[in-house]
Symmetry: C2
Subunit: 210 residues, 2 copies
């Protein structure tokens, strides 16, 4: 654990020197991380330098989907491990050989428990929660929600068909972390995407320049 903190600090320094914002994206399996990243890349890649580190237990499927967009992506397979750690990410950073500025998304292994304790050196942690998973998930997996800066609710297009109370979900999440930012999205209907992009690219930030 102490070793992880050391590697995370190393990554943070490395990224800071290059002006790259690293965002650690965590969620359950199938919450829609890759889909929202693909949509964001396709909408933003002309005005923003984006790269991705993909974490999966096995397979390179998500990395292949991302690579089709033409941006740089590095796959990490964690084998039996249920999360990325800062050392793995450090190795991927060297492989990516990032230029100045832009955003680096780290798509963590689909898991609401293990990634909570592992700082990767990210600037912000984003937890994604799909409406099909239920509004009680912040209460049941408090560590991951309390350690995140942003909660992106995904698949809002499915909310008419499931029992998901947005207000309850927000209340549950804010109770754990009052400063948690929240955006409601659907990659399908584009709900909330403008707000998501504004958050990714704050006005006047370096990230708007390639």
């Amino acid at each position: 654990m102490e070793e992880n903190v050391r590697y995370a600090d190393q990554n943070r320094r490395y990224l800071h020197e290059r002006g790259v914002r690293m965002l650690n994206v965590v969620s359950s399996p199938g919450a829609g991380k890759t889909t929202l990243l693909l949509r964001s890349i396709s909408d933003l890649k002309d005005r923003l330098s984006i790269s991705v580190i993909e974490g999966d237990q096995q397979t390179t499927r998500d990395a292949e989907r991302i690579a089709l967009t033409g941006i740089r992506v590095v796959q990490i397979n964690t084998g039996k491990a249920c999360h990325l750690d800062a050392q793995m990410v450090g190795r991927a950073l060297r492989e990516l050989d990032l230029a100045n500025g832009g955003i680096l998304f780290v798509e963590n292994v689909g898991n609401l428990v293990c990634p909570a304790d592992f700082d990767l050196g990210e600037e912000k942690r984003i937890v994604m929660l799909s409406v099909t998973e239920g509004d009680d998930k912040p209460l049941k997996y408090p560590n991951i929600f309390a350690s995140s800066d942003m909660m992106v609710v995904t698949k809002m297009d499915l909310s008419p068909y499931v029992d998901f109370d947005v207000k309850t979900c927000i209340l549950n999440a804010k109770r754990l972390k009052p400063s948690l930012e929240i955006i409601l999205t659907s990659a399908k209907t584009r709900e909330g995407l403008a707000q998501w992009y504004d958050w990714l690219c704050p006005e006047g930030s370096k990230v708007l320049h390639r």
Copy 2:
């Protein structure tokens, strides 16, 4: 790990002596484990002795929902741990003080990675996968699918609204484990429930007698 195997064998002997079938239910967070268990309990409890061990990182919400049905339930909170282990289950078994026969469901922590390596002493392992998670999940989390005896696909009622190809999913899962049994269900529309109950209560089995 060796210690876990020893405790698992102890649990298996204990359950065998009492003729109780323990089923270890694993899935992602929000795949619908509790909902399908609640539906099954309500449909079967008059002809079958059922009890439940609930595993959650925190909260007793699921155990409270189960307790409302009037059956016996014990909650285990795993804190920071991402899975149940055989020793925790052994303690819960002593608390439940099971009579002869019936089914004991163990609802594991919502996680597709960690529970794979931990034998709890169960007779069968059931992995639940909701259609909203995507048909590629067996490929991405192979250990948990390969270590299961039954895959229950849940939330089939949502399949018109999501990109989930049942055939692809079955193919992906069977490639990992040719003997894997598969049932497609919806707790909402009751699709597949009769088949699920037949599997739970094979004809002539002791479990039909209280």
